[in-house]
Each structure stands twice: as structure tokens, then as C-alpha cells.
Symmetry: C2
Subunit: 390 residues, 2 copies
């Protein structure tokens, strides 16, 4: 299979089971992509990620552009060699990060000029230089530079973001030079169905190898997010991968798979892992809670990860209360496994035509709040910065 081939192996209701073949290997979908913003999934090694069953990781153009910069990564022989990860990498285009800078950027049809959040230095992203950067990194999937708006937004803002996202996607497509790096377009349009349709229609005309649903998880309600993700997914071609950006939680992933989405990324599992919030398939735990101080069970009973096979809640709770580095490491590892295992189980359920029962069983098991148990994670990006794992 040549890079970019997407084979749909099974469907069950709206849920899809596919294989996306990329330059560094296959990605079995539905797939969750751990976030490695700065060329590292925080606290974890590539060997850890392989153990966890991660097939592909996401990194961020914006952050890598500023630090360490392209020359350093090129000197290492590309991003894979620099971070020692030999499976696929997808990079976000930096559009989302730059637009969250707000007062520190200036935008026109040519591109966007911005000041670094690190040192105030001036930079410019154009559709062309962002494609060139991602191709120079040697990544498997590059995202086109897009215009994301914070919700709620006015109709004019949304229409303008769709127009410019289309213009930039065209120029991004023209800028491609490297066959091993696939270019995905990003559908915008806020919560406006007509704008979502226009954006999808414009981008589909470019015949890109994959499409993302952008501009969600940026302040809207969960209901709006679910409704719009489902609406937009249905606009996208069935024979190409669909990627919902910035999702998920256990619940959001299930809903989006049900809507026919194939790929996901989110900082939620790793950020929670650093903050003492343990994901489980029955709800999240605040591991610092006193009820866990002498709890000899694993974080999640039945979990197959090395953290759960080795350590107790009592020990992980101690590590967080003592502010010990090992706590975030062990919990990030477990949290990623929860989502990667959820996708693995989802793939099996779709193949075996029992998707609806699987989905409903997991959704029914998500616990309401009880002592020591937090609400299942909500859509976390009230602040758009939250979507960078920094």
C-alpha cells in the first residue's frame, strides 16, 4: 500500500474500522494520537509509547518552529530521528496555536505574523512555509494552515475564517513537494451548519488525502461539539480518513467514533496524568483524595498497563501528595493506555459488528460523581491554550 492509502475494513452503524498506510507504518483506525507538543510526549519515552500501543503521535509546528527550530531537527536527520520515534508522526499546522495568541498576531490573506510566547521574537506563518516546515521535519501527515475562531463568534468572523482557510488550503496543496508527507485539510465553520458545508465543499474540491474537523473543543458546549462533529463528519468522503482535532475523553471518543470519525488527539490524558487525575473507563479519579491513601487496588481494575500491573492506588497517591516526578510519569502512562485500549476495543467491536452494544455498555458504565471520583472529563478547552500540551 502506498502512503496515503486508506482501506475501510468494516463499518457498523456510523462507526468505521480502517487502516491508514503512512510512510512510517500503518495506523489502525479508530486511532488516538498521544500529543508530543515539543517533540516529546511529556514524561514518556518512545519505548513507553510502543508498549502502550501508540501507533502515531502528534507534534506541533508552532512549538517546534520556535524551539528547537528547524535547523536543529534537520541536523538530527528529521523529527523522527531527533525524538527517536520510528512510527508515524502528524504535525498540527500551528494555526490553532497562533490564533490563540490573540493580541500578539496580525492576520491577512498572505499569512499571519506573530510574536513568540517564549521571547517575543517576530515570526510569520504562511500556508507555504508551514507546509515546507512540516515536509522538512519529515512527518507522515502535515496539516494545512487554517484559521480557527474562538466560540462564540459572529457570522462574519466565521465566514471570513472559512474563506481564508479555503484560500490557504489551496496554496498549501500547491506548495507540496514531498510525496511521503500527506497534507490534510481542516474544515472550519464554527457552529454554523451552512459554513461547515461550505468549508467541507471547498476543501473536498482539492482532493486531499484526509480531512480534519477543526474549530471544536474551543469553548462550546459538549452538546454543540457532539452535534457539529457528527454533522461535519457526514460531509466528508467515506473513503478518506476523518480526524477530529482536540478530542478526547472516553465519552467524547465514543460519540465521535459513532459519528464516523477515525482519528483523534488530545492533551487530556497526559495533562490529567500530570495533575493527579486518573482516567478509567468508569470515570476519572482524583488520586490525591484521602480515600485512596491505603487503597491496595490498581488505578483501574482490569487495566493491562504496566502501572496497573505494578503499583497500587496508595502508592500513586503518595507520589502525588509528595510531589514526586514518578507520579506524573506513571499516571500519564496509565491514562494514555485507557484511551489507546478504548480505541483497540472499539476496533474489535466494529470488526465484530457489536459496536452499538460496546458503545452503550461503556457509556452506561461512566460513573456519576461519587466520593473520590471526579466527573468524567469535560471538553477541556475553555481556554484554547489548553489544547497545547505545555
Amino acid at each position: 500500500m502506498s502512503p496515503g492509502a486508506f482501506a475501510l475494513r468494516a463499518t457498523d452503524g456510523g462507526a468505521r474500522r480502517g487502516t491508514l498506510t503512512l510512510a512510517h507504518g500503518p495506523v489502525e483506525t479508530p486511532a488516538f494520537m498521544p500529543v508530543g507538543t515539543a517533540a516529546t510526549v511529556k514524561g514518556l519515552t518512545p519505548a513507553d509509547l510502543r508498549e502502550l500501543g501508540a501507533q502515531i503521535v502528534l507534534s506541533n509546528t508552532y512549538h517546534l518552529w520556535l524551539r528547537p527550530g528547524l535547523a536543529t531537527i534537520e541536523a538530527a536527520g528529521g523529527l523522527h530521528a531527533f525524538m527517536r520515534w520510528d512510527r508515524p508522526i502528524l504535525t498540527d499546522s500551528g494555526g490553532f496555536q497562533v490564533f490563540s495568541l490573540e493580541s500578539r498576531r496580525a492576520l491577512d490573506d498572505a499569512g499571519v505574523r506573530f510574536r513568540s510566547h517564549l521571547d517575543g521574537s517576530e515570526h510569520e506563518f504562511t500556508p507555504e512555509n508551514v507546509v515546507a516546515f512540516q515536509e522538512a521535519l519529515g512527518v507522515d501527515v502535515a496539516m494545512a494552515l487554517d484559521v480557527c475562531v474562538k466560540l462564540p463568534a459572529s457570522p462574519d468572523e466565521i465566514a471570513e475564517s472559512v474563506r481564508r482557510t479555503t484560500l490557504w488550503a489551496q496554496r498549501s496543496a500547491d506548495a507540496r513537494r514531498r510525496a511521503e508527507t500527506l497534507l490534510f485539510g481542516i474544515v472550519q465553520g464554527g457552529l454554523d451548519e451552512r459554513e461547515r458545508e461550505r468549508s467541507a465543499s471547498d476543501l473536498l474540491a482539492l482532493d486531499l488525502p484526509g480531512y480534519a474537523i477543526g474549530g471544536l473543543s474551543v469553548g462550546e458546549s459538549r452538546d454543540d461539539m457532539e452535534r457539529m462533529a457528527r454533522f461535519t463528519a457526514a460531509l466528508l468522503p467515506g473513503h478518506k480518513p476523518r480526524y477530529l482535532m482536540g478530542v478526547g475523553t472516553v465519552r467524547d471518543l465514543l460519540v465521535a467514533v459513532d459519528a464516523g470519525v477515525d482519528m483523534f488527539d488530545c492533551v487530556y490524558p497526559t495533562r490529567c496524568g500530570r495533575n493527579g487525575r486518573a482516567l478509567t473507563r468508569t470515570g476519572d479519579l482524583n488520586i490525591r483524595n484521602a480515600v485512596f491513601a491505603r487503597d491496595q487496588r490498581p488505578l483501574e481494575e482490569g487495566c493491562d498497563c504496566a502501572t496497573c500491573a505494578t503499583y497500587t492506588r496508595a502508592y500513586v497517591s503518595h507520589l502525588f501528595r509528595a510531589d514526586e516526578m514518578l507520579g506524573p510519569r506513571l499516571l500519564s502512562y496509565h491514562n494514555l493506555r485507557v484511551l489507546l485500549r478504548l480505541m483497540q476495543d472499539a476496533r474489535a467491536a466494529i470488526e465484530q459488528r457489536r459496536w452499538a452494544a460496546f458503545r452503550d455498555g461503556v457509556l452506561a458504565g461512566l460513573a456519576p460523581a461519587r466520593e473520590g471520583i471526579a466527573e468524567p472529563g469535560l471538553n477541556l478547552a475553555a481556554n484554547p491554550d489548553e489544547q497545547n500540551d505545555t
Copy 2:
């Protein structure tokens, strides 16, 4: 071999090659013990420590007493089960930590009352309850509560610390109830040879299974430390293990092995690992230095650790400049390997009767400062708090 047996396998000059048999396994000496103050070697798992060749780790009575406390560790089945480390553990008695509290403690022959640095709560250590605590943890080696003085100290202060250390060691010996936990005594006496002789003589009369050299690395010069370690080691019985507390660096370890010391602990490799200081056998590197930004070599050429087998200086340098958690993890791992490998090579050199050549070769290779290369680490405990890995 029963717990406590110490077999001296070879000597070469003053250097000794032995095997200390403990309840959880053998310790081949000379041995470096990674420090796991709060029931964790910061950032690393027991599996990492086994990969590194760690035979025994040190943890701290003072810290464990305060957090998580004995009941939590007993509920897990002891310290080994709590932290999931199945090889030997030695715990410090807490004497050193309590005396560094200075204004927050009151001392008499009965024991020492102190306020927690965490929450101000009041506690008391006595020789008896410190032995009972360590035995309840189930550790392989317990240290007797001792009285450490900060240097420089007056002759009266030193004499009084020796007198009370002896009194407490006698009471510690009488308090023993558990054969699997060996009790080591700690020789005090500051920089006064007569007081060191008195302390050693007093403690040797108790016929303990091992002896430590305490009260060094607490503010004195390196020359004084080396001289007094050598003087004190020679006072200790040849058929029992000798442990120099709070050392080392590459240089200090070599000098102390040469003086006939068998065991060591120090926070230096892990603290440096968190702060971007890479240990190598030819001197330390400040990995944040710009000279390393595109350096494609491993941290230390020839090092057999997984960090060096996998990552470049450029990548580790990036991780530290981006304040990424993976940096301290990878560098702590490497730094421990440097000292554990040094001890492994020292053991082989002693066995093969080429100790002097080995020692002189490594000492000659320790580089003076040059660009991007820091001075080989000095005795780090100008502040006694520095000896806790917190």
C-alpha cells in the same frame, strides 16, 4: 549465607571487593546506593533501577515517618511492597535530617523532638522508636539514630555528639527485634581524629554488623573529607562493611574506595539529573549549554545506558531548554549508570589486581573546566539539606 554475612573476596592496596548478603539479596561491593528519599528514586521505576544495575537503594526514615507514615506502608505489606522494589533497602535513621532542622528541634539524652518541615506537626525520635520504625518497614539495613554536627564545630560540640551517638547506638542495639534487619552504627567525631577514634572504639564494642562514617560532606573541604574518611575507615574492622554516607562524585568515590570503603549513597547523580548536569567519567557537562544544541553524540561516548544508546546530547539539551519532564528522567537514569558502572568497573579492577591503575586512569581523565564542561562535581553539601533528595 545468612543475612549480614560479609565475605571479603579480594583486596588490592586499600581497596576491597566484597559481598554483603542481605535479606533481599546480595550486594556486591564497592556499591553505590541510589537515593529514594520518599520511597521513590526521583523519576525512575524499580524496573529502571534493575536495568541500571542498582543492587540496593536508600530511603529516609525522616521523610517516610512524616509522609506517607508507617500505617500506610504497613498496609501495603512493608516498604518493599509499597514501592515495588524487591532488592535490598537501607534506611537512614533520620538523625541527619532532624539535625538539619536546627531551630525546629530540641535534643536531650532521651531523644529529639522536632517539628515537621511539611506542616509543623510535633514528633519525637528516640533510638528505640527509630529502630522499631525501620524494622516495621522491613528494610535490610537500619541505621542507628546518631547526632550529626555541622562543621565547623567546637570541640565540646563534637565530644557531646560522640557521647550521645554512642549512648543511642547502645540503646538502638538493645531495641532490635528483627533478625532480617541489620543495624549499622554511625561513627561521628567531626574532623577530630581523637574523637573519631573514641566514637569508633565505642561502637565497635557493640559488635554491630556494619559501620558507617557519618558527619562528613557537611560543609568541610574536600581535602578534609578525604583525609577524615581515610582515617576513619582504617579504624573499622576489616571483616565488616564500611559505609561512607553522602558521597559521591566520580572522584570522591574513587578516593573512598581506595581508603577501603565499601558502600556509598548520594543525591548527586539524581539531583544533577534534574538540573541538567550530565555526569561523565571525564567530568560533568551542563547539557543546556549552546555547544550541545546540535551535538549528535550520546551524553557520554562509550556509556552502555539506554539514554546514551538512544538519544543525542542535542535532544536531551532540547528537553532541558524546553523544561520537559523527560529530560530529568533520561539524565537521572544516565547519571546513576555512570556511578553504578564506575563501581562495577572498580569491583573488576580490584578482583584483577589492577585497582591502582584503574583509579589513576580515571582520576587523570577527569577534565578541568572547558567550554560547556563544568568542573567535576564538588562535595555538594555546603547545606546539609542537600543530602536529602527532595
